[in-house]
């Protein structure tokens, strides 16, 4: 069993309009020192998954089922108070927008000190030293002075560094970063990613990066999970996903990715249509209304939900097409087009 092992996780929200199946039978695992990238469009259930792992749906309206094993301990059946004690200490999270994710009325230092003192019985002075130390480690200049600054006095990149310092203040063994670079300037994005990878190595923690941007996970992930409509559609090593992708949705994501290292000879290949409503998920394969190959499935596309099946060496794909058909399509139609982009 992996350090974090999620099995058949379902997170459903009952609403007046019907049951929203934000996450519907998701399984994945991450080891210490490894990085998992979870990729998908807005509304595919990425963030809901991460909040579920942290136990932040407890006490809310969400209905959870399945299993979440963290270091040999099951979290869904654990008490809310027990999971609260793990949160911040054993598992921590970095959020998308560091400005709105930090309290505007408290100094950055205060917020890091608070995070540290929840889980460590130390004096404020000790915690403050630790906070200054953490700010220094994430690359904030003059940490002893900046510790008393308010979030609005920081730049976007600095705020995200402070956010990382806060998340790492208790040496968490699992770190979940939800779109950690989306709100940042492009020039700062790479710095933040490098910082996270360096710190992950230093702390030997398991890292989950959630993003809609394949470019982000390409640099840092060991494994990649592609989500669509609350389900996993493709799951494999980073090499599997980038060099041997087999799901049409993954092809679409790759086609939508601007490449700077190639000549911009042609337009991007965006995925047509928009993500499915999670209340009325299309019948059969959730992706079939947008899939260019839906007619190749002998009419199963809109009647049967395809299984998530192993194609080779732990590489999982949820598609009605046969393995050979997918491989042929990739080699003959998709890959050549992507390479000319």
């Amino acid at each position: 069993m992996s350090f974090l092992d999620v099995k058949d996780l379902k997170i459903h929200f009952p609403t007046d309009d019907g049951l929203v199946k934000s996450v519907d039978g998701l399984s994945f695992g991450v080891e210490r020192g490894k990085t998992l990238g979870i990729v998908g469009e807005s509304g595919s259930g990425k963030s809901v998954t991460s909040l579920g792992v942290l136990g932040l749906h407890k006490g809310g309206r969400a209905k959870l089922s399945g299993e979440i094993w963290l270091d040999g301990e099951e979290l869904i059946s654990a008490s809310a108070e027990h999971v609260r004690g793990l949160r911040g200490k054993k598992m921590a999270m970095i959020f998308q927008d560091p400005l709105s994710s930090m309290h505007p009325f408290y100094t950055v230092g205060h917020q890091i000190i608070e995070a540290y003192r929840i889980h460590h019985k130390v004096t404020k002075q000790v915690a403050r030293k630790h906070a200054i130390d953490m700010l220094g480690r994430v690359g904030i200049p003059e940490p002893a002075r900046r510790v008393d600054s308010y979030p609005h006095e920081f730049s976007g990149g600095m705020r995200q560094r402070a956010m990382i310092a806060m998340a790492l203040s208790c040496d968490p063994e699992l770190l979940i970063a939800d779109e950690p670079t989306t709100a940042l300037d492009v020039t700062v994005q790479a710095q933040i990613l490098d910082l996270m990878v360096d710190l992950q190595r230093e702390f030997n923690s398991a890292l989950i990066i959630i993003t809609h941007d394949l470019g982000v996970v390409a640099q840092v992930s060991d494994d990649i999970l592609v989500m669509y409509g609350g389900k996993c559609v493709e799951y494999g090593s980073a090499d599997d996903i980038f060099y041997r992708p087999e799901h049409p949705y993954t092809w679409g994501l790759l086609g939508s990715m601007p490449r700077l290292d190639r000549e911009p000879t042609e337009r991007l290949l965006p995925i047509k249509g928009s993500p499915p409503s999670l209340i009325n998920v299309p019948p059969g394969c959730a992706f079939h209304p947008r899939c260019p190959y839906a007619e190749r499935t002998d009419g199963k596309a809109d009647t049967e939900v395809p299984d998530l099946a192993e194609t080779e060496g732990g590489h999982l794909v949820r598609c009605h097409m046969s393995r050979t058909e997918r491989r042929t399509l990739w080699e003959t139609e998709i890959k050549p087009v992507l390479e000319t982009q």
Binding site: G85, R87, G88, H103, P104, E114, H119, Y150, H152
Partner: protein
């Protein structure tokens, strides 16, 4: 921060000057515009049997023939430095701050105002403690249990509290709790805190609760709305993700952010109230500033009314000044601008 404070102080002082001008204008200039002669102005200061000569003399002595600016200057000099009134038979000293003498009692206004301040302060402070504690906690609980029975009950009660006038709730509670059940004092009595704190609280309990009910209702609604908004903020999720206990998430992160508009409202409400809780003091016949003002207005007793208006306005200005300063403490982002 220091420049912020200085700027606010200057602003507050300017505001008070403007208020004094407007007040002076209403009581001394507008009647003259409306056609009142200096003699007609002076006739209010003398007895009914005064001869026209006496009235003319008094008008001259009180300076109603002087230009308006001179009259205003004399009035403000009285407030800041004291005044002397020459009655012919002798000179009457009126020490600063001098707001003149009551037409009815012949007593100077300022000592009377000072005597009545403890009553109004006691009423306002006690009620404020109750309404802030009750209003904010009910608002927080309602927001956390939105849609529950408690939420609907408390918001229904709050609606009643906002819409029922104080003389109504005051009368009803007097009838029920004082005359009916005999739990509380029947009103009209006031014992200074320094003499007997227990009796002081006993006499004021019903006025406190009546007044607090009216205000608590508004604060509960405001707190509920603020909490519903802040509890959905990203930083609340961050606080939870840190492993903070829910109680601390609510109080330290949620309520802290929702408190800013409540503080603003409180400054204005409290300032208005210490300037005289007119309706409550009248309903419970408490000898406070508000009651003094009502009596003076009924008797067309000009100097006490003016003194009351200026003192009450000063309280409001000071209260909002304090709130402005606290604002900078509560919300660090204010200090930048």
């Amino acid at each position: 921060m220091l420049t912020y404070i200085i700027r606010r102080l200057i602003g507050a002082f300017a505001m008070l000057i403007v208020i004094s001008m407007v007040t002076f204008g209403i009581f001394f200039v507008v009647p003259q515009w409306a056609g009142a002669t200096p003699e007609a102005m002076a006739s209010r200061y003398v007895g009914r049997a005064a001869t026209p000569e006496t009235v003319a003399l008094i008008a001259e002595r009180l300076g109603f023939n002087d230009p308006v600016a001179v009259q205003y200057g004399r009035f403000m000099k009285g407030v800041f430095a004291g005044a002397e009134y020459d009655y012919g038979a002798g000179v009457e000293q009126c020490p600063a701050p001098c707001f003149g003498y009551s037409f009815i009692s012949g007593q100077p206004v300022w000592p009377e105002l000072v005597n009545r301040m403890p009553v109004t302060f006691s009423l306002a402070i006690g009620a404020a403690v109750i309404w802030v504690l009750a209003g904010v906690s009910v608002g927080v609980l309602s927001a956390l249990r939105r849609g529950s029975f408690f939420d609907r009950l408390s918001m229904g009660t709050a609606l009643a509290g906002v819409s029922l006038p104080i003389f109504f709730t005051g009368m009803i509670s007097l009838v029920v709790f004082s005359y009916g059940l005999g739990w509380t004092a029947p009103g009209g009595a006031y014992v200074p805190f320094t003499q007997n704190p227990a009796l002081w609280a006993y006499d004021l309990l019903l006025p406190w609760i009546t007044l607090a009910f009216l205000f608590a209702a508004g604060y509960a609604r405001l707190t509920r709305a603020g909490m519903l908004e802040t509890m959905g903020e990203d930083y609340i999720r961050t606080a939870r993700a840190k492993g903070l206990r829910e109680r601390e998430v609510v109080v330290k992160h949620g309520l802290r952010a929702a408190l800013t508009p409540i503080l603003t409202l409180f400054g204005i409400d409290f300032g208005l109230l210490i300037g005289g809780a007119v309706l409550t003091e009248t309903t419970y016949t408490l000898p406070g500033l508000g009651q003094y003002a009502i009596l003076a207005i009924r008797n067309q007793d000009l100097p006490p009314v003016m003194g009351f208006v200026l003192v009450a306005a000063t309280f409001v200005v000071i209260a909002s000044l304090i709130v402005d300063m606290l604002y900078a403490v509560v919300d660090p982002r204010v200090r930048l601008s």
